[in-house]
């Protein structure tokens, strides 16, 4: 398949992962694999910032690449970290002259058989969420067309990751909302049940439920659920204060 067609195919495949069964690691692995297949690079790796801060290796086109990326994190120096911190592309056309910049990382990369590196930020407007590392077995400049294509792929992946995070956040909030409403509803139902069994008004029934939950160090909603499903016997509820 010609390069342009492969590239177009990759964009389609990346977009395709946005639908159901979305998996971040799968998306990013597709990205690193295609960088190697479509662009003129020896290996590709990708790091994302974790929710608690700090970068994590998310995808690598080979095991050697993964080891090198882990080393970069451990040494806290290297092109991926620089691209992430600055939000700008970082290039080293000859790693043998980069020992001043990344003394430990440059040696490790050369040992793994790589002569040059290009790191691209994963960025959307102000937010930098990670970086893509592209390694070459030869020295020299990467073709601008390849850099542009890699950055475009990284941009699409960035949007996918951010959308996925927003969707997850929405799901958590919606579950919290439903949980809060369920708790409130079950408390109202338990109030009704206690009011009927003990011949109290709703206010007194609520007081009885609340004192029981306090005296037994239980959450009000759990006591209410117990009343509804019969595991908390209504006569056991402490007497309400006289009206």
């Amino acid at each position: 398949m010609p390069r342009e067609a492969m590239l177009a195919r990759t964009f389609v495949d990346l977009a395709d992962t946005l639908v159901a069964d979305f998996d971040v690691v799968e998306l990013l692995t597709l990205l690193t694999d295609r960088c190697v297949e479509v662009l003129d690079v020896g290996a590709a790796g990708l790091m994302l910032v974790a929710p608690e801060g700090g970068l994590r290796v998310m995808a690598s086109s080979s095991e050697a690449m993964r080891v090198l990326e882990l080393f970069e994190l451990q040494a806290q120096e290297g092109p991926c970290l620089d691209a992430f911190r600055t939000g700008l592309p970082v290039v080293a056309q000859d790693l043998s002259t980069a020992s001043g910049r990344w003394p430990r990382f440059a040696a490790e990369a050369l040992g793994a058989g790589f002569q040059s590196v290009q790191a691209l930020p994963m960025r959307l407007r102000g937010a930098v969420i990670g970086a893509l590392n592209l390694f070459h077995v030869d020295r020299g400049e990467m073709r601008q067309a390849d850099i542009d294509a890699a950055q475009a792929l990284a941009d699409v992946a960035t949007i996918a990751v951010l959308q996925h995070r927003a969707a997850l956040e929405a799901q958590v909030l919606n579950e919290q909302l439903n949980h809060a409403l369920n708790s409130r509803i079950v408390i109202e139902q338990a109030k009704g049940m206690v009011a009927e069994r003990r011949e109290l008004d709703m206010e007194e029934a609520f007081t009885a439920l609340r004192s029981y939950s306090r005296n037994h160090s239980l959450r009000l909603a759990d006591v209410a659920r117990g009343v509804i499903d019969g595991t908390v016997a209504v006569p056991e509820l402490d007497s309400a204060p006289p009206a």
């Binding site: 909030l173 809060a180 708790s183 409130r184 109202e188 959450r219």
Partner: protein, 241 residues
């Protein structure tokens, strides 16, 4: 363009409303932005309505009440089918649907009703309910505005809930809402009266309201104020002499 529509809607939301409640303002903007008579935001879970976050007026309030009482209507369908549900002429629908809902809704002044699903990503919240006092299709422009508005409203509900303490409903969502607490209190009482589950008690309450052509909320209020009892042997009793 969707971006411009969003900006216009956010602009409307930003303009200081006359109402103190944020969700009330949200509902008003839903109606203003879509050029409809009134709007309501209904939350749903497990395919049944939970209640209203807000409504703009008595008619939209009734539209939501009817759907809660009867379990049918444009919002219920929009949520269940996960797509917009459009009825441009509720009095003379092309395909009759919602037999119990339509009559009272038309009588109250809703001649066209529209339901749009409320969702953010995979999170499904409920439906946006829009009505018009005159029959007629939504224009393409109104339809596009409604889609953006449903998106904004869904996000607004979640943003409001994000500030709530754990396990509690956000105060901003509670204000002006109707989650039918009296109905649930009544269900608890009826469950005790009939020695049955609250789920079953809710079914009995709904059946009683429908059979007697009354609002569920009124029947529930009668149970709570002990004007109405449910009896296992002989059905419902009015204890008043």
């Amino acid at each position: 363009m969707a971006g411009e529509r969003r900006l216009r809607i956010l602009d409307l939301l930003g303009i200081g409303g006359t109402s103190g409640s944020e969700t009330k303002r949200l509902c008003e903007v839903c109606a203003e932005a879509t050029g409809t008579t009134g709007a309501g935001i209904m939350l749903m879970a497990g395919d049944v309505p939970r209640g209203s976050v807000c409504t703009t007026d008595d008619v939209s309030d009734l539209i939501e009440q009817l759907q809660y009482d009867l379990g049918e209507g444009p919002c219920v369908d929009a949520y269940q089918d996960d797509r917009p549900v459009l009825e441009p002429d509720l009095a003379r629908p092309r395909t009759p649907r919602w037999p119990a809902f339509s009559g009272p809704a038309v009588e109250a002044g809703a001649r066209a009703v529209f339901g749009f699903p409320l969702q953010v990503g995979a999170a499904r919240l409920g439906a946006l309910n829009l009505y018009c006092e005159r029959p007629g299709e939504l224009t393409d422009d109104q339809h596009a505005d409604a889609l953006v508005m449903a998106d904004v409203a869904a996000q607004a509900v979640l943003v409001l809930q994000a500030g709530a303490p754990a396990g509690r409903l956000a105060g901003e969502l509670e204000a002006g809402s109707d989650f039918h607490y009296v109905v649930h209190q009544a269900a608890g009482m009826v469950a005790a009266q009939l020695e049955t589950s609250v789920g079953q008690a809710l079914v009995r309450l709904r059946a009683y309201a429908f059979g007697n052509d009354r609002k569920l909320a009124e029947v529930a209020a009668d149970v709570v104020s002990r004007k109405l009892r449910f009896d296992a042997d002989s059905g419902e009793k009015d204890p008043r002499p």
